[in-house]
């Protein structure tokens, strides 16, 4: 039944079929179109580049305009005493306060120390929360029994307003670094966990079947198929969770600390120094933006395999 004429090394059938015959109409018209478009192609590219640049300029210009309007009206209304700068602060006052902090230091010591402390707490909490989130998300996503068992506990834990855990952690871990890392990590954990879990559940069944047929064992399946596939979900959650880690660190400082931008904000608040509160918020925003840039760079590295945005613009 398995009679088959073994053909000589694939020549006759194959060589002809791999390429279309050179005399085909298609190839002729293609070359002529290519030659004709040679000049206009570079022109088109230049035009496109100009359009992209113009759009970018428009975006930056409008952003600047918005900032000027916002800060200008704030400055104006407070200078004219329509709004009391004592309660609402004033942009010029905020600038003065920042200048003061960077040149003369704060009541708590060097401003760099305060930022360093908060950054340390944030990054620590972010790493602990993200790593635990990914590990548990992948584990529970892979092991259905574990997911079924853990499900009510996770839902219950998730429904707690986790910020209040900060007071608990202050008792458990003291007023140092550890309690802030714990608060930040708890906030980060659930976001990353749910994303990792969902990402694992959404992996294309075909890809899993293919990897198994090709001989992948369970470990390979997890590291080479499941985790890379869930990675876009996980990375999306990291964007949100760095901000959450910052919230956790600052809230942690609320429950007792000796240094940090959060502590600086509270002590300014206690002294009715509204400009100081705004200056601290400004520093937190800068830190969050820098971290956001780092995460975006990481994301672009990790998921090179995904098609890029068509326009080549950085997503906002």
């Amino acid at each position: 039944m398995s009679v088959r004429n073994m053909p000589p090394p694939p020549v006759s059938v194959d060589a002809g079929s791999r390429r279309p015959p050179p005399s085909s109409v298609g190839s002729q018209s293609l070359t002529s179109v290519g030659a004709q478009d040679g000049a206009s192609l570079s022109e088109l590219t230049a035009k496109r580049t100009r359009a992209v640049r113009r759009r970018r300029l428009t975006v930056y210009g409008l952003r600047l305009l918005f900032a000027i309007l916002w800060i200008g009206s704030w400055q104006l209304t407070t200078s004219m005493k329509w709004v009391d700068p004592f309660f609402f602060g004033q942009p010029s006052g905020i600038v003065v306060r920042l200048q003061q902090w960077f040149t003369q230091g704060t009541d708590l010591g060097s401003i760099w120390l305060q930022m360093g402390v908060t950054m340390e707490e944030t990054i620590g909490g972010f790493l602990v929360g993200a790593i635990l989130g990914v590990v548990f998300g992948v584990l529970l996503g892979r092991i259905e029994l574990a997911a079924d068992v853990a499900s009510p506990f996770i839902k219950a834990a998730n429904s707690i307003p986790r910020v209040v855990l900060g007071s608990l952690f202050a008792i458990m871990f003291g007023l140092g670094l550890k309690s802030k890392i714990a608060t930040a990590a708890v906030l980060v954990f659930f976001v990353v966990f749910y994303n990792a879990f969902q990402g694992v559940r959404e992996v294309d069944r075909n890809l899993i079947a293919n990897a198994r047929i090709l001989g992948a064992n369970n470990r390979r399946l997890t590291t080479e198929i499941i985790v890379p596939s869930a990675m876009s979900w996980i990375l999306a959650s990291l964007h949100i969770s760095f901000g959450l880690a910052l919230v956790g660190a600052v809230v942690g400082e609320l429950f007792g600390a000796t240094a940090g931008v959060g502590e600086l904000i509270y002590s300014s608040g206690h002294l009715f120094d509204v400009d100081g509160v705004f200056a601290g918020m400004f520093l937190l925003a800068v830190m969050a933006l820098v971290a956001e840039g780092v995460i975006t760079a990481l994301e672009n590295r990790l998921i090179r395999w995904r098609p890029r945005q068509i326009s080549g613009e950085t997503p906002i």
Partner: protein, 270 residues
């Protein structure tokens, strides 16, 4: 047949439906595929063609009956199985080279050896120069070639193909069919090629198995005694081809009609 590569004996496969009922995909199906044989399976939509492949590959287990590969009952995925999927199943986060090298790597071959073999297979399927591309940078036909190389690099003794070319345009499809035949001729693999396209089945196979409308069972088996090597683009002009086509179509037509009527009723009921 003694020493069949694949044997299905009175195999039934049922699935539980979400509503709590059972759905029988194939019932009492018996067929054999000889060593080195190219066997095409045709049948109307929903006749259990893909389920048959899933059973042979060990991805699914039979509800009743025996599935044997190389004389051994199938438990888990048998050794020496290759599977080319209907939809894209190449790994989007791996380059072409990493995709093709995956099989040998999973079997414990060292990285450099696997890459060397992968380069060889990539050029055999006509993708030399595309080693470092990601799948999204390739056309549908090129991704199919990656899938083929990915399966063939493991030297499968059995190659299962589930409508592999159905998503391709007609020209690319003919090209790929010819390439498949020449690649297969250089191996000794048995092929089970599932398709809904009778022309494709006859052009490629040594034997065509017709399944009934679901639950699928074998309606008839037709040997295709066309000479090899074949050129898929031209073989359909041979009078012998038309005769085989007509004989099979007479059998297949009723099943297609049954399947179509059923779908109409299902659509009307739903």
């Amino acid at each position: 047949m003694a020493g069949a590569a694949i044997e299905l004996r009175n195999v039934t496969k049922r699935f539980a439906t979400p509503k709590g009922g059972t759905y029988t995909a194939i019932r009492d199906l018996t067929m054999e595929v000889g060593p080195g044989e190219f066997c095409a399976v045709v049948g109307p939509t929903g006749c259990g063609k893909s389920t048959t492949l899933a059973l042979i590959s060990g991805l699914e287990r039979a509800s009743a009956g025996d599935v044997l590969v190389q004389g051994q009952p199938v438990r888990g995925i048998p050794d020496g199985i290759g599977y080319v999927f209907q939809s894209d199943a190449v790994f989007p986060w791996k380059t072409v080279l990493e995709n093709v090298a995956a099989g040998p790597r999973y079997h414990g071959t060292s990285g450099s050896d696997a890459r060397k073999r992968a380069r060889d297979w990539i050029s055999r399927v006509g993708l030399a120069g595309f080693e470092d591309r990601y799948p999204y940078q390739l056309s549908g036909g090129m991704r199919k070639r990656v899938g083929l190389a990915q399966s063939l690099i493991n030297n499968p003794r059995i190659l299962l193909m589930d409508e592999p070319f159905s998503a391709l345009d007609v020209q690319t499809r003919t090209l790929m069919e010819n390439e498949l035949l020449s690649l297969w001729a250089a191996t000794s693999a048995s092929v089970v090629f599932v398709t809904h396209d009778l022309e494709e089945a006859i052009a490629l196979a040594d034997r065509v198995v017709v399944l009934t409308a679901g639950p699928g069972t074998v309606k008839g088996t037709f040997p295709v005694d066309l000479p090899r090597p074949r050129n898929v683009a031209e073989i359909r002009f041979q009078p012998q081809f038309s005769r085989i086509y007509e004989a099979i179509w007479l059998q297949l037509r009723d099943e297609v009609l049954v399947s179509y009527e059923r779908q109409k009723h299902a659509a009307a009921a739903g």
